[in-house]
Symmetry: C2
Amino acid sequence: MTTPKRRLPVMADVAREAGVSHQTVSRVLNDHPNVRADTRARVEAAITRLGYRRNLVARALVTKRSRTLGVVSFDTTLYGPASTIYGIEQAARTAGYFVSIVSLKSIDADTVREAIDYLVEQGVDGVVVVAPQRSAGHALENLPPGLPAVAVEGTHSADVSVVCIDQKEGARLATRHLLAQGHETVWHVTGPHDWLETEGRLEGWRAALEEAGRPVPEPLAGDWSPRAGYEAGKSLAAMDGVTAVFAGNDQMALGVLRALSEKGVRVPDQISVVGFDDIPESEFFSPPLTTVRQDFDVVGRHCIEVLLRQIDVQLNGGSTAYERLVVRPSFVVRSSTAPVR
Amino acid sequence: MTTPKRRLPVMADVAREAGVSHQTVSRVLNDHPNVRADTRARVEAAITRLGYRRNLVARALVTKRSRTLGVVSFDTTLYGPASTIYGIEQAARTAGYFVSIVSLKSIDADTVREAIDYLVEQGVDGVVVVAPQRSAGHALENLPPGLPAVAVEGTHSADVSVVCIDQKEGARLATRHLLAQGHETVWHVTGPHDWLETEGRLEGWRAALEEAGRPVPEPLAGDWSPRAGYEAGKSLAAMDGVTAVFAGNDQMALGVLRALSEKGVRVPDQISVVGFDDIPESEFFSPPLTTVRQDFDVVGRHCIEVLLRQIDVQLNGGSTAYERLVVRPSFVVRSSTAPVR
DNA sequence: ATAGACTTTGTTAGCGATAACAATCAGGCG
DNA sequence: CGCCTGATTGTTATCGCTAACAAAGTCTAT
């Protein structure tokens, strides 16, 4: 790899090649209207001839805009965050923005804050924080002033815009579906403590039961992992009178199914199970899982919309109110639920 | 959000505040040794007092290093790419680098090339391309000269460094395990055409069968999705003499399990099934899946190592040979396989 | 005390682009 | 035909930082 140390062409080189000033080159590059067609052509020819690519770093320095958005997220290996980020990236690129990602292993106000600072230092024009833990929310309460920011599934703080899925509604959908099938009540396996999703789903579940005047069983604590669902499933199998379970997410539902199957409990004949997320695998669980679908793509797109709006306001003035965009989940009925007999 | 238009402090502000020159501030920031302890303290105090953060864009302009690495990947929603990227991001950040991601919907030489150009324009110091399709490999054959680059699961081209998992070996492990259990032969559900993983796994499977002098059945074409596995599973259930199936990945294995279960075929009693990847869910499939584990974290870390080495060479001179790092997969035995009776 | 060597600090000149302003060139109109 | 207006192009300054060099200041050895 003995690279010939020939440095990359810069604007001045193109200018010389085309016989114009570097400013004219800049104008061509930025689609400035006042450039004669033939000059434009000449410059464009020179650009291709030299293989010129503009240096966005230099551009960012003078415009004070990097056209890069920062994303801070917890465990990007999980389906939810991964899908959200995918949606964010696609939307951002369409809008001509780069995406710089920081994925956190542990999440608390300090780590999140540190990650944001890191991104700010790098000069991002705004940040999306996918940090659905309550504790992480505090990091959003005193952001660097003037930094456009959006939280996904964020706190209910009034200091930052939020895009989220209506967890409570999703949980309600799941619970009502089960009640409508004649189940006396519904057991619930929760997500980890401190997550906003956990709280929302818990609330929705409880609300649906209370609305129907049903007893509210003690929820079983989980942590999103299939293993937690498995443990919960074993407990449920050992209990009397359990006919319906609402798992906090699909992976835990998988664990529940596994445990029930091991104990010889048939789903949905003896116990109905509902999940949350609709991961691609759910449809092929044994049995195929009835679940709540979250449209992460839409969430990602909304994040970028909100963020770009904030950036625009910052540039051109205008007023910003903090927005709160709630995406409604939908319900997918498959074979893991059935009317009680 | 009526931001007070007070601009962020710059080095000169810190210099004034500390009563030194801006260069001294720069020295403190870059841990230059020749700064007296008390001046350093004074500068640091000024920095915290003003809440100064250095502008990495300006720094990048003059140093010609952005400390940002680009990652181009296909469908970051899939477990494999997502995990690899996670590993890359963690390793990069530890090394003081940012990661800018472009995730592609469709992948071919042009799209990949475009994505790389996009990243180069942004000034990345190097790129990792997670593009396991053969067609995408061509984009790596004439990269911008001098650009440090690493491919994950890349082509066998000699023009670029590659970090990959030994797919062939993994498939061999799976197939041999089944043969060792007394199965006469092993059926295979492949990944999508054109993927290197598909080819590697196919080769390993075939090699293991041939080594043992067994018949090689016609492989069933899949596309990584559970649905494809499901379809393949239905076909297999309808065939005679099938006792062992090696699915190209865990998701397809899930589909196979589902189809077999629907057809009343018991796993592993009647048919044994093996997957590939060891996604977190596999352990809780019905039955828990025997599979090949890939350590994506290690792959990510290796990518960064190789890339940083290339960047170092570019900066300080030295020789680079293109490296090829092969990570060995391991085998996880669970309950979806059993000796033939 | 003083040259020489090494620290420590300051000064100046870019990096490669855009912004702001100045200059030139056409065309239209009184 | 000259002046004004708008389109087109060029010139200069600047973004915030580091590199390179210059200038003090400190210390040791003679």
